[in-house]
Symmetry: C2
Subunit: 614 residues, 2 copies
């Protein structure tokens, strides 16, 4: 049977052969998670995702209903929500104290890849719940934690993020929701929020809204914003639900896609009855929220990736089955499956390269979290934490940009069928377009990379990131059969290191606007190099295994073996994919680097009037 | 008031200052179309488009209804259809004998830009009608022409193209619809067609379907396909409507976008009552259809462009009005319109460069048609006809690819608002995704460029195309202030000329699959160079005018003048846009050229199994 959502062989390769997940169990903290257990977890997630969740993807596109302040999620979501809760999948990586499984992050990502790929709209409810719970776990008082954490991590209650207001989108410092301190230490919250994913829904008993608001008298701008825990229903001392907390859903948005996830407008305290409790310190709300934001951004990248892998496998299966036109080398024979046509192969290769590169990148980020948890010095913790900081805008920004490309290629491989709702790929393209926007537009991600991550710790953090790539390149140099590829990656690495320095300096000079006009191109080249790194790393693992299976890396011998042996086919696919990316995409990266180095100012210097007459 | 659909200043620039449309009236054929008349035509089209058609765009997204074989277009389409018919806009360029206006093609495109940008789904009905009428005008008998042409060109009846079948999409040679000759010389048609835009609709009295079918006993494959004229209602000798011709609409597709245009499945002769007449010669149907296909492909490019210009102006207006975050150079001042942020400017610049480059390209193609009509030798006609052949895959493929980019940038500039249906841009992105697919996917366009156009007339045709670019570069070299830009375009021109030769040779060697895996990248670089050509040409026109207005091209003097003078602002915008494209995009083009020259075969050599396990 055709693979769906994710190619299990590649998941296993990335998990075990590339990231060596089984090694984690050598540490006491992860002792239960040996290879066998990991494989079992992935298999269970895969089964649930393919058998139960994936069939809800298309029906979910019909969207949510809004009636009298209530939001009804698509009917099919209730059953899978129960199965997801029963499987205790939400708190895979969390502290057993709060009901978590204490699983390595790396392993959880392989499971999550299947879930998100099966239905991103459904999973978004859970991603946000997890992020909200994590925020309370980190900043909440013991009482707040006792009140909500177990219920949130079990999926009995859900969580959201109440940030955006009509006049405060990218600029949260402009928000106007207010908090007035009551005599009992609680706060009365008043304001309106928009674009709240899962702000109201009928799969849960209660919803916990971490909410940004300004305490009366607090400073203007971002320095005066505090974070509050605002439940939909108040929580009584015994943990049971009290009265309605005046968080009213006033409507849901009609969107391009991701219809199964309700995007809500909420009014808080419209009848003066919305009570919240301070989460963390006064006026430190933005900092706290940004801690959660990193996780949220990585989840967005995961969603973009998961939708991409689903789209890739649909397109691959379709290309193997759809018969149309003759093979260009065999004009006298009959029509063939379109996977034989060079332009279809080109598109499948682009998709494969990005999907597999994204998979490795996302798993690698997970492994960094696990390495950080196991690090035996603060210095090492800090080093790895820094690498995660650099990876975050790549995972969120670069991956979601490429996810649009991958899903669009899937539509194109289907031809006319790709554009109609009878086939699944047009929905995936519509669904994934939002990932370039939410949790900080990709323009914001690019500014984060250039303005914060590049200069963090006087540049040491970015150097640590480059150091990881350097290690992989050096390892690749020891492997036979991939030296030409390694050299090209090394050349781009060197060029990018130079250009990063040049651009970083400009960003701190009076040419700051010029530099920031190249923030997004800079994020792109860092992303390209990261993909090349991941694919070269894969080739480094695959080449010796292929050589061992075949007895040589001679192309004819390899081809003969590939025809008969699944493993040889897989490993050879790794070498071809790395070669494709390095030979086809990295030359373009070099071109982008040349443009960035020149940092031409046309976009900055053009007068506003010159963009178009009024 | 903010400009909508297209910036009139830029339309006028491209029409008159770049393409010198007014010169056309020096020829007898176009004597009535002097500058004043042209401007009046554009103004009328613009008024109708902005005031009447544009307001139907969003309501049209609700789509068509299908009931009992009938298709009801969106209600708002009926009024604009009457206005469009009354204005006699369909047959702008056609022979007055059949009710046409005999207008230069160049001028019609400026008018059409407004119409298509106002509502692409509505205009598609008319584009296809025009194409069908043109086909009958070219290949029909006198009787066929007398029967239908005036009614079609006036919009009283509509036309379609019946090509695609479930098993015959890109490969039309596989179609199975059959035609059986009757004693009276007519044919009984039997078969099923899918993806028929406007195959059934309720704005017209009758629909004429040019239909591809195979006469019983004809050869297999594409050599046995004939073209027929099949009306929805039979036409009596006196021209009045006869009985229903057994062309039954069995359903309409649910699509990603372009919902206002009905995509129909049709069954012909299900009750053995479908009669057609041969259009052109037996077994020569595909050749005839491909004559129409060139026009259809150019219309698709026009639609992609028109949706892009609409999206650009929406994004520009939004960026001028939306206040969010501080100016990076003025951190102590208040929030500013987002057009002041470098990453928003970057995106607006990309959009502006493509939109204006596309406008010039499309007008230029129109001017080629007009030059061809006025040419005084067959040789010159053939030369220009060849250039149009090369331009067609660029106009269809490259433009529609970029249209997705442009509309996606528009969504991004709007941020979260871009993703919701309350704002107009998400629809534009969904609408324009189909342009990459229909009338031959862009993969087919790329194969057309590499396989047919590059080698046409032993390469002379492509050389003629390059010769036009060379002329523009040489003209630019004479203009002060743009020499650096000119040199970069010249470098890319030279490199592309070399790479085209290399790739063309490979396409005729045993590396044909390798070459075709680079057909789409090759179309991209030809498209990039074409954009650079058009923008450099614009700069060549603008620079002397700016210099005259300012007294110098010194940046400080220019900036001072631009602040006060609309024309100076416009011309300086032309220089900045050319610079942006040449400094930011052409380096990437160079990278693509390097990859094409290497023609790495990973995508071709990878075994099918290696794409993913089954």
């Amino acid at each position: 049977m055709a693979q769906l959502i994710a190619d299990r062989r590649d998941v296993d390769f990335a998990l075990h052969e590339q990231m060596e997940a089984g090694e984690l169990s050598k540490n006491k903290k992860f002792a239960e998670f040996d290879k066998k257990t990991i494989d079992l977890i992935v298999s269970e997630a895969r089964n649930l995702a393919i058998k139960e969740i994936l069939p809800t993807q298309v029906p979910g596109d019909e969207g949510c209903r809004f009636e009298d302040g209530k939001v009804m999620v698509p009917e099919s979501f209730h059953k899978i929500n129960n199965l997801y809760k029963e499987g205790e999948w939400l708190a895979m990586t969390d502290d057993p104290k709060w009901g978590g499984q204490g699983m390595p992050k790396l392993v959880s990502l392989a499971a999550n890849e299947y879930f998100h790929g099966a239905n991103a709209a459904f999973m978004l409810y859970h991603s946000l719940s997890h992020g909200a719970a994590k925020l309370i776990e980190e900043f909440g008082t013991d009482q707040q934690k006792e009140q909500v954490l177990k219920k949130m991590y079990s999926g009995q209650w859900s969580g959201t993020m109440l940030l955006t207001e009509p006049e405060a989108g990218s600029d949260l410092g402009a928000l106007t929701t207010s908090a007035k301190r009551n005599d009992d230490g609680t706060y009365s919250i008043t304001g309106s929020k928009i674009f709240i994913s899962g702000g109201e829904q009928n799969m849960v008993e209660n919803i916990i809204h971490p909410t940004l608001a300004r305490i009366e008298g607090a400073p203007e701008g971002s320095r005066g914003i505090s974070l509050f825990m605002v439940p939909k229903y108040r929580i009584q001392d015994d943990g049971s639900l009290g009265e309605f907390n005046d968080v009213v859903c006033t409507g849901i948005e009609e969107k391009m896609g991701l219809h199964g996830n309700a995007t809500c407008s909420l009014t808080l305290g419209g009848k003066s009855g919305c009570i919240g409790t301070l989460l963390g310190q006064e006026n430190k709300g933005l900092q706290a929220m940004f801690r959660m934001m990193n996780e949220a951004r990585q989840f967005v990248g995961l969603e973009g990736f998961a939708v991409s892998t689903t789209a890739y496998l649909y397109a691959l299966n379709y290309a193997r089955e759809r018969v149309q036109s003759k093979n260009i080398m065999k004009p006298n024979e009959g029509s063939v499956p379109i996977i034989q046509h060079p332009d279809v192969r080109r598109q499948l290769m682009i998709m494969k390269a990005y999907v597999e590169g994204m998979r490795s990148l996302i798993y690698y980020t997970g492994r960094c979290y696990d390495r950080m948890a196991l690090a035996d010095s603060d210095e090492e913790k800090k080093r790895i934490g820094g690498i995660i900081e650099v990876l975050t805008p790549i995972v969120k920004g670069y991956v979601s940009d490429r996810a649009l490309d991958v899903t669009s290629h899937a539509v194109q491989v289907y031809g006319g069928y790709g554009y109609i709702k009878e086939y699944p790929v047009e929905q995936l393209m519509r669904d994934c377009r939002i990932f370039m926007i939410y949790e900080g537009t990709n323009g914001i991600q690019a500014m984060d990379m250039l303005g914060r991550k590049l200069g963090m710790n006087n540049g040491k953090t970015f150097m640590d990131f480059l150091g990881e790539i350097r290690t992989s390149i050096n390892n690749a140099k020891k492997v036979s059969g991939i030296s030409e590829l390694t050299q090209t990656v090394d050349d781009v690495f060197t060029r990018l290191s130079e250009v990063a320095l040049t651009l970083g300096k400009k960003a701190m000079s009076d040419k700051v606007e010029h530099a920031y006009a190249f923030a997004h191109p800079f994020l792109e080249v860092v992303g390209d190099l990261t993909m090349a790194w991941m694919l070269l790393w894969r080739a480094t693992v695959a080449a010796p295994k292929l050589e061992k299976l075949v007895g040589s890396l001679n192309p004819d011998d390899v081809t003969a073996k590939v025809m008969k042996n699944k493993d040889a086919a897989f490993y050879d696919g790794q070498l071809k994919t790395a070669r494709y990316f390095i030979k086809n995409i990295l030359p373009i990266t070099m071109g982008k680097l040349n443009a960035i180095e020149e940092t031409d100012g046309a976009a900055v210097e053009i007068r506003e009037m010159s963009f178009g007459s009024k």
